[in-house]
């Protein structure tokens, strides 16, 4: 039994990977932007090593429908080299901070021909094994509404209204019931006082008649309440 547990734990330990030497690169999945505006394509990486001085970032661009990608940005040896011959000349700016593992670029004055896939590849020597990450850029004339925003808001508004009406209805019922109850109590108190005053009436002749009527009234009120 004990040997079985020992063997199982050994197996588990053997399958747990040691801190892998691969570098993991993060970019967005998709970026939407309006034509004529600018967009920031972010790229950062995770590496088990400290950020070395020879860290490099490079961005490549593949237009929609094309097969080849061209290189548009490279950062190495502390220097950033931007595109000065390709489709992004004078429109590309490096806004990242390599010391903080950020290799983001800024694209200005977007055109419809900028639709495509941008790939970021970062290397942190000696951590160089990693998969580049891609972000798709979509340039719109008018930014479309995300699917489900209007749907959700209409449903939420109507259900909220329904809930509000129900709450107000029950609140009104509660308030009205309380007011009616307090009114009933005050009426009952008044009737009692009147009855006792009539009994202590001045003339005895009137006395014989009045208590009967007051008692009748009391009995009637008791029957009503029942």
């Amino acid at each position: 039994m004990l040997t079985l547990v020992a063997l199982a734990s050994l197996l588990v330990l053997a399958t747990v990977p040691e801190p892998s030497q691969a570098i993991v690169i993060y970019t967005g999945w998709e970026r939407h932007a309006l034509v004529g505006t600018e967009v920031r394509l972010s790229c950062s990486f995770f590496s088990w090593r400290w950020t070395s001085e020879d860290v490099t970032f490079s961005w490549t661009y593949r237009p929609d429908g094309a097969r080849d990608s061209i290189s548009i940005f490279h950062y190495t040896g502390g220097m950033a080299y931007v595109d000065n011959k390709g489709p992004f000349r004078d429109r590309l700016e490096f806004v990242g901070d390599p010391g903080r593992r950020d290799g983001s670029i800024l694209l200005k004055n977007l055109e419809f021909s900028d639709n495509g896939t941008f790939t970021c590849d970062a290397k942190n020597p000696p951590d160089i094994v990693g998969r580049p990450s891609s972000v798709r850029l979509l340039v719109f004339e008018k930014v479309p509404i995300q699917a489900g925003v209007i749907t959700g808001s209409i449903i939420g508004a109507v259900l909220g209204l329904l809930l509000l009406i129900v709450v107000i209805y029950y609140l009104m019922r509660f308030l009205v019931a309380r007011r009616v109850f307090s009114l009933n109590v005050s009426k009952h108190g008044k009737k009692k006082k009147e009855g006792s005053q009539q009994r202590q009436g001045p003339a005895p002749a009137v006395d014989t008649a009045k208590p009967k009527t007051s008692e009748k009234k009391k009995q009637e009120s008791r029957k009503d309440r029942k």
Binding site: P144, I145, Q146, A147, G148, V149, I150, T151, G152, S153, I154, I155, V158, L159
Partner: protein, 157 residues
């Protein structure tokens, strides 16, 4: 008496089922290569189905919301009917149930009307209306009649 009750519940449930099918199945428009709306556009390409999300315009989202709201209100009406069946005094009317069912039918009607008027903006003229659209229009009078019956009906022992 029991027969009447059963008939009314069946009508309500039938309307509810039609609403469910109309909302869930994405076949408001159909063409020879596929169906589209309310949620996905599926087309047959090279022998296989290929589905994308439906266009994300404002009007299609409004139709989605109205159909879902009609289902919610119809379900609430069914639930309230059973509640009222056991708690209503003799001779009382199923007002709340009827109101909810009529509101549900109004939502279906407005959803179908909005789709009819606005769909030419994103649907080509060669496409026809699919069966989900027809079911939506069929469920509208069913729900309306069911709601009116609830309002008129009086509870007997």
């Amino acid at each position: 008496m029991l027969l009447l009750l059963l008939g009314i519940v069946l009508l309500h449930v039938a309307a509810l089922v039609l609403l469910f099918v109309s909302t869930i199945v994405s076949a408001w428009t159909s063409s020879d290569i596929g169906t589209s709306d309310l949620w996905t556009n599926c087309s047959i390409i090279n022998g296989g189905y290929r589905c994308d999300g439906a266009s994300t315009g404002e009007w299609i989202q409004a139709v989605q919301a109205l159909m879902i709201l009609s289902i919610i209100f119809s379900c609430l009406a069914l639930f309230l009917f059973f509640c009222q069946l056991f708690t209503l005094q003799k001779g009382g009317r199923f007002f709340i149930t009827g109101t909810f069912q009529i509101i549900a039918s109004l939502f279906v009607m407005s959803g179908a009307i909005i789709y009819t008027v606005m769909s030419p903006e994103w649907v080509p003229d060669t496409d026809e209306f699919g069966y989900s659209y027809i079911l939506a229009w069929v469920s509208f009078p069913m729900a309306l009649i069911s709601g009116l019956i609830y309002v008129i009906l009086r509870k007997r022992e």
